[in-house]
Each structure stands twice: as C-alpha cells, then as structure tokens.
C-alpha cells in the first residue's frame, strides 16, 4: 500500500511540474495574438485581442487562473483550432496511442526474442550480424528512416501509403485504424519508423540482461541440477531477464511519445505529435499546456502498468502478503 501511495505522490509531483512548465509556456512562449487575427488587423485590434485573452494581467493572476482551469480539466480553447483543447486532444489521442503501442509491440515482440537469442548464441555469425545491425538501428536518426521508408515502399514500390491513417472505425469516442485493411496498411511504415530505435535498444538491453542473468549463481546451480538447457534458458533466465526489460519498455514509452512528433510530421499521422508541433509553431499555448499534462498522465498510467507487471512477475514485490509467512 505504501508502495502505491509513494507512486501516487510521485504522480502528483509530476503533474504539478508539468502544470508549472505548461504555465511557464503559457506565459512566455510566443505571441498568440498574431495567429488569431488576419493580416488586415490593425495594431489597435491586436491590443484589444491581447486584453481579451488576459495576456495583460499580472503573472500571478494568470497563474491562478491557469491552475484553477487545469484542475477542472479545462485547458481553454486552442488558439489555432478554436475548439476546446480537451476535445482536440481526445480526438487525436487514439491515433498517437495506437501508433505508439503498435511500435512498442513491434519493438518488444522482436527485440526481446532477438536479444535473448543473440545472448544465447554469443559466438554465432548471425548473432554478430544482428548486433551490428542493432547498432546501426541505434545510430540512425528517426527522420532519415522515415524518409527512406517512404521513398522505398510508397513512391518506389507503391506498396504502402505514405501518409495519414487510412480508414478508421469509430468505437464510441475512440477511433481505431486497427480494424480496416487500409488502416493497418497505413500503420506499417510509421510504426516501423518509430519502432526501429526502440527495437534496437530493447534487443541490446535484453541481450545484456540475459548475459548477466546467465552468469548468476542460480543459473549455475540450475545447471548443476542437470536441468535441460531449454528449461534453464526459458524457464529461469528469461523470466529474470524480463524484469529490467519491462522497466525500460515503460520508460521508453515516454520517448516513443516524444519521437512520435517526428514520425507524425514525416508521415502526416493525424495524432498528438502533429498537433503539438503545430501548437509549437503557432504558439498555441493552451494546446501545449494540455499536451504536457496529458504526457505526464500517460507517464503515470504506464508507471502503474509497469508496477502491476512487476507484481505479477516478481514475488519479491508482493511484500506484504509474503511477510506473514516468512520465518
């Protein structure tokens, strides 16, 4: 329980910091006025708009107003889109989440087995090749990968779409591209682009962890017990390898969200990243503020998921129940 309380405290802290950063943005970034008036507006018009937005109030007043609104989930109306920020984010969030999830699934689903395999076959040529390729994967800038994939698979071969999300299906308030052929096709290039770096990273990490676990005493003891190699590698080593890997996968999720900004720019993927890069360009502060808080929230949710995964896998974390039975 105290474990969860501590997590909650941390989440609140993160949210507070996020709001502060969001407010700092609100106060200091860009002059939104120019984005809201046309080219024919006079300087007097501009002043009027500035007053209407409350940009002339003292900072403290603006901060108080910001916090008050944020607590009610109200981040105001986007300067750029003229719609409530919460609605805009809600509309775009599914696209980014699906993209991030799928790329993480690709990265984890391939990265962990490859990492384990290369760890178990340290000397083999294929393992060395895979390692070298993974280094290239870590070293390649995401934007270059995206451009190259478009050139090859969209323009060159014409197999996969170069932009957008394809046909989406609405499930309640959620739109998903996972249920249509065109939606799935559209997902391929962006999620691969986003996943390459993570794949390489996770593979290398899984390999390093696996190697480390394979040197532990309990694996040595398991060998001394005459267990079959498969049992040692998969029943014992792999499960112990997964713990740190899960932590990293959780942490990397934040990075995937950030890198989705680049991928969404390259592929015109209609998600939050595209929204936020526009928000930065147009100094759309309410939108930025909402985005920041959402990122912090996502972080909290992912952390919770990681904690739950730990509880599921690692009996040592289920402390309280076990304590009653200890000698």
């Amino acid at each position: 329980m105290s474990f969860l309380l501590g997590r909650l405290g941390q989440t609140v802290l993160v949210l507070l910091v996020a709001s502060f950063v969001a407010f700092a943005l609100f106060r200091y970034v860009g002059d939104p006025v120019n984005n809201m008036v046309g080219q024919a507006a006079s300087m007097a018009d501009r002043e009027a708009v500035r007053r209407a937005l409350g940009l002339d109030d003292p900072m403290v007043v603006q901060f108080a107003r910001f916090i008050g609104n944020a607590l009610r989930g109200d981040f105001g109306i986007s300067y750029r889109f003229g719609q409530p920020v919460a609605a805009l984010i809600g509309e775009r969030f599914p696209a980014t989440l699906e993209l991030s999830l799928i790329s993480m699934v690709i990265a984890t689903g391939l990265g962990v087995p490859l990492g384990v395999w290369t760890a178990l076959h340290r000397g083999s040529v294929l393992s060395q090749v895979l390692l070298a390729v993974s280094l290239v994967g870590v070293a390649l800038p995401t934007f270059l990968i995206g451009i190259a994939l478009i050139l090859i698979f969209s323009v060159g071969l014409g197999w996969l779409p170069s932009f957008g999300r394809g046909e989406v299906v609405a499930l309640g308030g959620w739109t998903t591209g996972l249920l249509t052929v065109s939606g799935l096709k559209a997902l391929v290039l962006p999620s691969v682009t986003l996943g390459v770096f993570q794949l390489a990273l996770i593979m290398r990490l899984a390999r390093a962890e696996m190697l480390e676990v394979m040197r532990t005493d309990f694996i040595r003891f398991a060998k001394a017990r005459g267990l079959k190699p498969r049992a040692i590698e998969y029943r014992h080593a792999l499960r112990n390898t997964l713990l740190p890997v899960i932590t990293i996968v959780g942490l990397q999720f934040g990075n995937v969200f950030a890198f989705s900004i680049i991928v969404e720019t390259v592929f015109q993927w209609p998600g939050l990243g595209l929204l936020v890069i526009q928000a930065i360009q147009f100094a759309d502060v309410p939108l930025l503020a909402g985005y920041l808080v959402l990122i912090a929230l996502c972080f909290a949710v992912i952390n919770l998921a990681v904690d739950l995964a730990y509880v599921a896998i690692d009996p040592r974390v289920r402390g309280s129940r076990a304590a009653g039975r200890a000698t």
């Binding site: 809201m36 024919a40 109306i77 750029r80 969209s154 932009f163």
Partner: protein, 533 residues
C-alpha cells in the same frame, strides 16, 4: 480531471464497444468519381467570418459563396448577386439570384444577406474590413439589397469577393449568429459545421486530419465538375505531400516545391501546373528611426539615405533568385503589384535600376559607407515560398557589396509579432491585396502608418504625396482616372526606392493524370471546375 475521464472513457469504449460503425461506407451504385487532394495546412475554422486568411477563405469558397465572385481569370463574375450597380455615389445595389437554396434546403433571400453582412461587422469577425466602408445594409425587397456608405467607394464589389453569405435561419437555430471568435474564446456551431450555397457541402470533417465533401445537390450553378466525392487532407511536410502524389494516394497536391516539379513531370503519372502568384514579395527598410537599432552605424540611419536604398536594390540579383531558388517559375517584380491586380501596368513592371554590384558599392561609398555597415534582417521561414532561402541569398548578395547582414529567420507567428511591433531594421514581407486592387497595397504597405492605415508598412516609409494619392484612389469612381492615380503613386515609390520589390512566386500544383483543374493566379483551387476523366 476531465482529461483523465476522457481518456479512461475512451479506453473503456474501445474495449467494450459493440457495433463498429464504419466512418466511410462507400455504396458504389453509380461509378464514384473521388477526388483526393492535399494542401499544406487545414482551414483554420469553418466559420467564414472568423479569420481573414487566404487559404481558409479560398477553401471555404467551395462551400460558401459571396455576392460577387471571381472567374477563371479573377474577373468579377455574378455569384449570389446577379448584378450590381451604383444607384448613387454612396449606394451600391445588389440584385440577388433567385431560386438559390442553401445546402440544408432553406431558400436564399435578402434577409440572409442582411444577416450575414451584419454578422461580418460584429465583434470577433476578422472580415469586418471588407465592409468597413458600409454604414448601412438595407433590404429593398426579397431579392434586392442596398449597401450604403458615408463616402463613395468605387471598389466595394471588389472588396467583398471573400465575404460569404450564411443562412440566417440556420445560424439562429444553431446559436451561431455571432462569428466564432478565438479572440473572445468562444466557439460555436459554425466553426465546425457549415451550411452554404456553394457547389459542395461538407460530409464529414475531422479538423486537421481529413474532410470529405460531396456535391451540393441544391447548387444553382453550372455543373462542370463530375466529381462525386472530395477528400481533402492537410499534409504539412513538403516531401510527404509530393510522395503522396507520386505514390498515387492523392490526385492533386499544392503547393509543389519548385525543385520537385521536374520529378513530378517526369514521373509519367502526374504533371505540374504552373502560374505566378498575385502576392508580391518585397523588402522593407526602417526609414523612421534616427539610428538603426541593429546596426553598427551610430547616430544616423543609413536607410534614410536614398543612395543606400538604391545600392541595396542594385546589389540584389532578382534573376538569380528566380533561376536558382525559384526554379525559374517566379515573376521578377519591378513594382509592388502583380500582373492581375487592378492597377497593374506593365510599364511599372521593369527594374528601376539594373543589377550592378559595382554601382551599388559606389553608391555606398558616395553615401559615406565605403566599408559597408551591418544590420539584422528579419525573415519568416514558413510563411512564403522559399522565404528563408531567398533571405539567405539576399544576405549573401548584400555581403558582396560589403553589407554585413545578420539573418533572423523564424516561424511566422514570431516573425509577425516582431516586425509588426516595428522591432526590425530590414525585413522581407509579401502582400497580396485580398481585393485584388492596388489600393490595398498602397494603403496597407506604403502609406504612413496611422490607426488602421499602414499596418504592414514595416519600414514606416512616409511620403505625404503617396498618402494623398491613396485617398484619392479610394473615392475615384472613373476607372481610367483611378488607374492613372495608381500609376503615379507607384512611380513615386519606385523613384524613391521606398521598398524593394523582388518577385511574385510561381504557383505550382501537382496534378495526377486524368485530373483537370483550373490554376488561378490567386492559388485558389475551385472544386467546381475540377473534372476527372
């Protein structure tokens, strides 16, 4: 928190939702003619009076209509008004088209015109300037409306070609009687929905992602287009946009970066339509401060010296910019208005002085700057075609005559904030009169700044003679006399090197084979003229 709630409900919805409803359910009874096209951005709002921004207005022109429209060569054509006349010097009478219906079926009448123009004048409207001269809007009968002005305004029909008419009933029923205003933080039904008299109507729309349009069955006009469905997508990244055209995912993209034109033409399944913009790019020099605040010259302002301005003019090789940066598609400008703008005269449109770095250096020496001087140049990097590259080229050219220019290229919002606050010594700007009339160029970019006048005269150039001529042009009814006045004013500016006109950028649309579109020099795609083979 609402956001949490939103996210969690969305998640729940995903997990438990039963019946997936297909967003797009094409039912191909007749062969569908789908036209898919992409532009760099999405229209900012669907409210036709919310934002005076060229693309938004152009795009909304497919759904909404003005009283007076523009033809394929930008000539005035009847739209919702069949004809218009000046019944006296201060009254314009518009005879409305009969039998017109809005997309929702309600008939179009004079009440809608009165309502819409009043709405345009309300707080929050960004289009008020188009009817600023109108003091009264009178319904004469169901199909006649009078616009009354305090003083004669000969160009009113020209000014209102983007002033769109909404349905009074629809607006009242949906609480959209005032313009959606990002300024007052109010949005309304009209910013996300539309009901116009135009050739197309909106089927579905997700802002910033995708908008589907279908032909408006109630449209009054000549049905040239055989398109049955239009899918519009904003694609911001140039490379992705071109890739989408080349891979056949869209039928048309614009703008096409000039350097990609050859590739598209050579692809065999698409071609590039080319034209020139109506927007003139030009340089502004601060001619007001007594000392340039970004320069190493202290105690005086070199730009106040006409020889310095001329030196800069002669140091810039506009032809090289055209060839090397604009891919040969731009039109080198000799004056501040483009061909196609009312008041344009080819006699204005030649270089005032030749490109001649030696002469420029001599002029600088004569002016007392044999070793040149330094200053900062402001430039946008995402507003105009190749803006940053043009500025970089200019910095290089000025460097060759000894002027040390620091380039400050930034995103449009920051750029405009800075230069509109006159926090600049030297800046590049583009201007396209929304009315396609030289008066706007004179009033907004060349007149002495005061109140609503001269807002975009970034260099604060002041010439009382030009100010006076501008006022005369505003009220002169006789076209010939009016054009003579415009000519005179433009010549004054040229002789004075008040601004340095550079060019009108080329317009390039990438069009797939089998798609026929009309390239208009205001860069506006009119869906009603699009046909598919």
């Amino acid at each position: 928190m609402r956001l949490t709630l939103l996210v969690s409900t969305a998640l729940t919805a995903l997990l438990v939702a039963a019946a997936p409803a297909a967003a797009q359910a094409p039912a191909p009874t007749a062969p569908e003619k789908v036209f898919r096209y992409a532009y760099r951005v999405d229209p900012a709002s669907l409210d036709p009076h919310a934002l005076a921004e060229t693309f938004t207005l152009s795009w909304l022109g497919q759904v909404y209509e003005p009283l007076v429209g523009r033809g394929k060569n930008l000539e005035l054509v009847p739209a919702l008004a069949e004809k218009w006349e000046q019944v006296d010097p201060t009254t314009w009478r518009f005879h409305l088209r009969k039998g017109v219906k809005f997309a929702d079926g309600t008939p179009f009448t004079a009440d809608d015109v009165v309502f819409s123009l009043q709405r345009v004048k309300k707080d929050g409207s960004d289009m008020a300037y188009t009817v600023a001269s109108v003091t009264d809007i009178k319904k004469v009968d169901d199909h006649t409306v009078d616009l009354v002005m305090a003083k004669p305004n000969p160009i009113l029909p020209v000014q209102i070609t983007s002033t769109y008419i909404m349905s009074k009933d629809w607006a009242e029923k949906n609480g959209a009687t005032a313009p959606a205003s990002v300024k007052a933080k109010v949005e309304n039904f009209a910013s996300t929905n539309a009901n116009g008299t135009g050739a197309f109507k909106i089927d579905t729309r997700q802002a910033g992602v995708r908008t589907v349009l279908v032909p408006n069955p109630n449209w009054w006009g000549d049905k040239t287009s055989n398109v049955t469905k239009v899918i519009f997508t904003p694609i911001q990244a140039d490379a992705t946009r071109v890739a989408a055209l080349l891979s056949g995912e869209v039928d048309m993209v614009y703008p096409v970066p000039q350097q990609d034109a050859a590739r598209i033409d050579g692809s065999g399944n698409a071609k590039v339509l080319k034209g020139a913009e109506l927007r003139t790019m030009f340089l502004n020099m601060d001619q007001k401060r007594d000392e340039l605040h970004t320069s190493d010259v202290k105690g005086k302002n070199p730009f106040k010296d006409k020889r310095v301005r001329q030196a800069i003019y002669q140091a810039i090789d506009m032809e090289a910019i055209k060839d090397r940066i604009m891919g040969g598609t731009s039109h080198v400008a000799g004056t501040m208005i483009a061909p196609g703008i009312n008041g344009y005269d080819a006699k204005l449109d030649s270089r005032t002085a030749p490109y001649d770095p030696k002469a420029a250096k001599q002029l600088l020496t004569d002016a007392g700057y044999p070793d040149g001087f330094s200053f900062t140049m402001d430039c946008s990097n995402d507003r105009y075609v190749n803006d940053e590259r043009i500025c970089q080229a200019i910095v290089g050219m000025l460097g060759r005559v000894g002027l040390k220019v620091n380039l400050n290229a930034q995103t449009r919002s920051k750029y405009f904030e800075k230069v509109l606050a006159r926090d600049t010594s030297f800046a590049m700007l583009g201007w396209q009169p929304l009315s396609y009339d030289a008066h706007s160029t004179l009033q907004d970019t060349m007149n002495t700044p005061e109140g609503k006048i001269g807002t975009y005269n970034i260099g604060n150039y002041s010439n009382p003679k030009i100010d006076e001529l501008t006022q005369k042009i505003e009220v002169e009814v006789d076209p010939a006399k009016r054009n003579a006045l415009i000519f005179e004013a433009m010549m004054l500016s040229k002789d004075d090197y008040s601004h340095i006109p550079l060019h009108q950028a080329g317009i390039a649309w990438g069009v797939r084979k089998g798609v026929n579109a009309v390239l208009r020099s205001d860069d506006s795609l009119e869906l009603k003229w699009v046909t598919l083979d």
